[in-house]
Subunit: 218 residues, 2 copies
């Protein structure tokens, strides 16, 4: 079995057009024909396939919980986990100087789903999603879908009649395409604050809120 | 032509299962069998169909611009515009005391796409999207896809070597499910600040950033 066949087996899809697979595995640092547009497409395809599956699998779950479950399945950490199962690091074409980050791997997973969709349509992409996300889907516990940290912190302050958290960007690092952020979340009334870091403002804010929640007296 | 047939014609889909259409048109304030779960599903379906169309329609456009175009097509304002074309306000079942807001109409549009998807599959939902989003799609100008206000303001401050904007929630109104927010965006170094309001933190922040951008010396 060739390396490509091994990957196709893990993915649950055999490509008619091998060039699409090739493109999905090409990071922009490796030159032309990169996977960025496929990543855009795959993000939509994956969001739809995951929504369809959650809708069917949890017929009594309310919209808010379904939304949080979906967010959990398509966030970077989950996609990087799928990349690990597929051993994508062995298949990815990436510039020698470019680090192989979880974000690069997660983007390539999205691109793969865009490629399967173009190769054989929505049903094939859905099948590949079920094949690769099987373990993640099986691990979902509908009673355990927590609200995100920013929402929890905000609701907590609201319930306690306190002023809402304040977020402030304290630092940014890196070039525009590889930027990372540090955000401070503060509860001035309580004299509490914490900093969080992440590859997007949203992630850094979530991390900061999480750190504040941990400091908060119960 | 019955009212239902008129709506089906506008939507570009004739339902096999009329109960799905009924459910998509039922706001939670009107009682059981509401459209919230269909809205969750439809959000995914619509995101995928719009991504597929933009990918095909603009073969040379980079991922960042495609992403901004998609955001523009599926944001509340655009969905409420589609609701207007469909005259959804005439069809929606909603509690007598509940206001018919753009957000209610936008959610019902998403739910309709969820219903078409369950009724007849992805291809049918895609057809209905092309049918109803035709005017919006035709109005897209790829050279005119602006970055959002928060991103623009941040990049501008970065380019000018200034500290990044600070965002602070100054007020929230309403019950948890109908909350609205006021956020202040400040550039303390420049002594500039403005407040924005919106039905989510994200929208209020965007509005505040937009208002600051307008105040900023060129």
């Amino acid at each position: 079995m060739s390396r490509r066949e091994a990957l196709e087996k893990q993915l649950g899809h055999r490509f008619n057009n091998a060039a699409l697979l090739e493109q999905a595995l090409t990071h922009r640092s490796a030159g032309a024909g990169d996977n960025e547009r496929l990543e855009f497409l795959g993000d939509g395809v994956l969001g739809c396939a995951v929504a369809e599956e959650l809708y069917a699998r949890f017929p009594r779950l309310a919209e808010g919980r379904l939304t949080r479950m979906r967010a959990r399945l398509v966030r970077e950490e989950a996609l990087a986990e799928v990349a690990g199962q597929l051993h994508l690091q062995q298949h990815l074409k990436i510039g020698q100087k470019h680090p192989l980050t979880p974000s690069v791997l997660a983007d390539a997973v999205e691109a793969l789903f865009g490629a399967v969709f173009l190769d054989a349509g929505y049903a094939a992409a859905r099948e590949a999603m079920l094949h690769t996300f099987g373990p993640l889907l099986a691990s979902l516990d509908p009673s355990d879908v927590e609200k995100d940290a920013k929402t929890r912190l905000q609701e907590l302050m609201h319930a306690r009649g306190r002023k809402l958290p304040e977020y402030r960007v304290v630092a940014t690092h890196g070039a525009p395409h590889q930027r990372s952020f540090e955000v401070e979340c503060a509860l001035p009334e309580l004299g509490l604050a914490a900093v969080g870091a992440g590859t997007s403002l949203q992630r850094a804010e979530q991390q900061a809120a999480k750190n504040v929640l941990e400091k908060l007296p119960r």
